[in-house]
């Protein structure tokens, strides 16, 4: 049985079978309703209001998330509802996954220019007399060898070969041969340059960089939301989806989205996707595996083993990517189950091993990867910081889109707090950077103590039933709910930042150095770009270093991917770094739970105090601590 569903306002219509939940049907119809838990009923994000028609009864999960009043008013969780008649529904703004600000830029310079994809302008003779009998490929090889001594062509990709005879004759033998690793990939007219695509495949965001491989420059950058989000906002949910439902679907979604978004970029740039001969993709290990349709079961269970942590070259056509039919995808090696090639790319782009050591590099997200260069060694670990910094698990958390509070500062002159809201819109929620500075502000004003307990008598703290609230934006005509932080939100943030701090402290302890030794703390990635380092230092997410030592570099993973696209040398260097990086598995680290407990405190002093009480004294620092 199929029912017609009409969405108000707007009147969009789609159908939903009686055995399909409304969330799946909404996603199937291309309506990007938020879902953090992937349809398990636990995140409470996918709210809809049933205006007309009959649906299944509320589930226990819905009763957990919705008050009786809300349920009586027709509010439901889309993932829990099955239609029993045609429906008219309403989607609240908060349920729609919004466009998100993406961080594409990076201040790190790309290094050398020696792309794996090369091109050579040739004049290939096209013989007409019966005595000549060399094949097209052989004559092209000879033309290449004589005009470019030392360049040796050993063969051709089948797809390149398929276009060779026709293009050679169309261009009268005056062609641009595109080669890679001694193989002909294809021919171009002389006026067209070979292109490349660098991809930073994040769990939430995907960044594409279309590059000119002849001139070594970025032609266009473009970011979009990872479409896998409809099957779960975090990695664990997606792995679960791949294991339980469809092992290949999540990879296909990304491939299709890259194909679709390439249409946009290449049209904008006036370039053809068939001129893209190479793609470099970086991402966390789960993204890497799902993209390649590699099994993820063993990645989901301790000891979280990747199928491979070697670099990989794959034909784009084997993945369904619509680039040049002969194009190759290069995937730098993952480091471990929870430290991916995106982190490797960030380390490589930052040239961590060349920075004055000891130097820390962090890429903060649902999983926060930390690398430490100290004593000539590079160590890395992954901290399970959770979705809080992406807005997940918070009562009014949201991703960094329009209407998100992105920064909070204490401003007694303005009557308390000053808010920065993305898009200059009415505040409708709070994103990761906002929650960090809100917490810093609450500690500063005394609304929260350094153990994370809200003070009922603290400034701005109110009680609503059992719950203490801290209003950032009071209810008003623009947003009748207002935006508030709850005690539970504070705890979630504490857990997230505690996990990161524990990882940082574990790496420092492994290297036998103290905070005071640190010469630099590099913050990579979108979140690291948007936060105020002073906030992160104030609530002791970062170890105590002077603010001036914190360096926000932007999307280093994307820069690393571009660097590897532009340079085979950078690629070899990154592979060497991958071999050098020593992975520390935090779940097996003896003092982790104590480091975590200490890391939850909300000031440098109280973190230090707790570590002292737990017997986790840092070794004497050579610099000021």
């Amino acid at each position: 049985m199929e029912y017609d569903i009409t969405v108000q306002p707007g009147g969009t219509r789609f159908t939903c079978p009686s055995d399909e939940d409304l969330l799946t049907a909404l996603h199937g119809a291309g309506i990007n309703v938020e879902s953090v838990c992937g349809g398990m009923g636990t995140c409470g994000k996918c709210r809809v209001r049933i205006l007309e028609g009959k649906v299944t009864d509320p589930t226990l999960e819905e009763e957990d998330h919705l008050s009786e009043e809300q349920l009586d008013g027709g509010e439901r969780l889309a993932c829990q509802v099955f239609p029993e008649s045609d429906l008219v529904i309403e989607l609240p703004d908060s349920s729609l996954a919004t466009g998100e600000r993406l961080q594409l830029a990076c201040e790190l310079e790309v290094g050398g220019f020696d792309p794996a994809v090369r091109f050579h302008d040739l004049e290939v003779e096209i013989p007409a007399s019966p005595g000549d009998h060399g094949s097209d490929l052989l004559r092209l090889r000879d033309a290449l060898g004589s005009s470019h001594p030392g360049v040796r062509l050993e063969g051709a990709d089948l797809e390149g070969l398929r276009t060779l005879p026709t293009l050679l004759r169309e261009e009268g033998g005056n062609v641009r041969a595109v080669t890679r690793a001694g193989k002909l990939l294809g021919l171009l007219p002389r006026a067209r340059n070979p292109l490349g695509l660098a991809v930073d495949l994040g769990s939430t965001k995907v960044a594409l960089f279309l590059c000119d491989l002849a001139e070594g420059r970025v032609l266009a950058s473009h970011g979009f939301l990872n479409p896998q989000i409809r099957h779960g906002e975090d990695i664990v949910t997606r792995i679960q989806y791949a294991m339980d439902r469809d092992a290949a679907r999540l990879g296909q979604l990304v491939v299709e989205a890259i194909n679709d978004n390439l249409d946009v970029i290449s049209a904008d740039a006036g370039l053809g996707r068939e001129d893209i001969f190479e793609m470099v993709l970086v991402g966390n290990t789960a993204m890497h595996h799902l993209f390649l349709a590699l099994p993820v079961t063993q990645l989901a269970m301790s000891p979280y083993l990747p199928a491979t942590d070697l670099p990989l070259e794959v034909k784009a056509r084997d993945l369904g990517l619509q680039l040049n039919p002969a194009a190759v995808v290069y995937l730098p090696p993952p480091i471990a189950g929870y430290v991916g090639s995106d982190h490797l790319a960030a380390v490589a782009a930052a040239r961590l091993w060349e920075r004055p050591e000891p130097c820390l590099l962090l890429d903060i997200g649902t999983n926060t990867e930390v690398a430490l260069h100290a004593g000539g060694r590079m160590r890395t670990c992954s901290c399970a910081s959770g979705p809080a910094f992406e807005g997940g698990g918070l009562s009014q958390g949201m991703r960094a889109g329009d209407g998100a509070i992105a920064r909070v500062s204490v401003d007694p002159a303005a009557g308390g707090l000053r808010l920065s809201v993305i898009g200059d819109a009415t505040a409708k929620g709070i994103c990761g950077s906002g929650i960090l500075s809100a917490l810093a502000a609450m500690v500063e004003t005394g609304a929260v103590d350094t153990s994370g307990r809200m003070r009922e008598d603290g400034p701005g703290v109110e009680r609503r039933g059992e719950e203490l609230l801290f209003y950032l934006a009071p209810p008003d005509s623009g947003n009748p709910e207002g935006v508030a932080i709850t005690q539970n939100d504070v705890r979630e943030i504490q857990k997230a930042k505690g996990a990161i701090r524990a990882g940082v402290d574990a790496l420092l302890a492994e290297a036998g150095i103290g905070h005071g030794d640190l010469k630099e703390v590099v913050l990579a990635g979108a979140f690291g770009t948007f936060i105020d380092p002073a906030d992160a230092l104030a609530i002791a997410l970062l170890p105590p270093v002077p603010t001036g030592l914190v360096n926000q570099v932007g999307n280093a993973a994307g820069a690393g991917a571009r660097g590897m696209l532009f340079s085979a040398g950078a690629r070899a260097e990154a592979e060497e770094v991958a071999r050098r990086l020593e992975y520390l598995e935090l779940s097996a680290y003896p003092g982790l739970s104590k480091l975590f407990a200490a890391g939850m405190y909300l000031s440098q002093e109280t973190v230090r105090g707790a570590k002292g009480r737990f017997g986790l004294q840092a070794p004497p620092a050579s610099g000021p601590d």
Copy 2:
């Protein structure tokens, strides 16, 4: 408009649109009606009789091939007929492409055993404690390196990688790793051996050899008709089809047929096609190009240039072959537009360069490839011998299937001639080997003179209207038409054998040697196996050598393909031979037309005499001539 077509006898039914000719519809319905010209109305093979219904009027092509009486009786050429109502038709036996005797065996021994696909039995640890973090591939690589020092694994095929984590755990880490060129292709349970497939892709026949790559033996051989035949019996017609109609279809037909026939073999052998990790395919250059969907336009026009004459490795999955998903297809290099990798494989299997020189090797077919090893050099050429030896262009020619006269000998005791008919059936036509010995018999009895003219007063010669006929099998109850050879048939055979003899003589002249110098003449291929060398010597198809020097080796191309499947060394050797082989383009050879004219004579003496008259004296022979 679609019409129903019913075939009598049998009652098979199919539909045919009003704008589709009956031959195309018959082929589409899987009914293998003969067609040499590929539907151009020139070969006259695809006869049908219209029993009921209305069709388009006879074309000029049909009037050329069918008498008024035949047309009145409803006989038509299927390729020229479009239906105008539902039809009932009859297919004469002679129109059905019959199963054909295939030559799979070869007396040449396969050389070394060092397959490119290797296997290693390993014990790979599957760690469970949180501290272990090496990827599956890395641990497999380490297990391989420690148990097989010197074997280095550098990566994995994506498809192999996709199966690695699951298979590794299913087998508890005790696996057989299948590798090729330093890459993991996949895992097998220890009890299963990696398999390989050697394919000899002929224009008419395809031979498959399923081989065990662990034990170095052939498990099963299987031959079938090349399904491209429905789009034309000869290469030129098929190239035309690829150029005019569908560039990829002919390759797909072969791929589908290999897939289908593999079902049969692997079921017979109790083996799974997913265990086939490598395939080696040899074929003439047109077959090679069509199989790979490479352009053939340039191959169809002078100077007949291949797209490539380098060896090629292609993923089986890129071609749609259903082997192991990671399987590789190796294609040895073509030599020139009309000398293919099948000839290279035959030269390699025969180890021509090790035979006492001067030595000739011939593979007789529609194109006859000749190689000559003399003076330390190897030369090769291709002779346009045409379809006569496959039965094409002859009034009662047919392929070597049941009912074909395969051998004719003079036997005065038996009242004139003795016939060998394939399948001990009633003679219904004559195949290549039969036509050769029939002609030798006719020369011997004086029915034909050595210039190829039938003698009206010769024994067994009869006149039918304007035409002279020589009955091999007189009309009788079993075959009311009988089987006869016409003057025109004799001319066709003369042209075919003249072309071969001209090529042989051109190669000998290039090498500066005479017939008497030859130490051996190797006949490879099906035709070379089935003919009586005495016939070929009698009518001067071969140069005059003692019968004992002619060596029939069987399907040398197939043996060469198997040899390259079993040995990477043999592959390298063949590639070296390909570089050494000097190609002589006969169409550019100055004396060709005279050599051809001389080569048409039907005795060694008259050929020699004609060459003398044309000023084409062979150099003085060091041996007897």
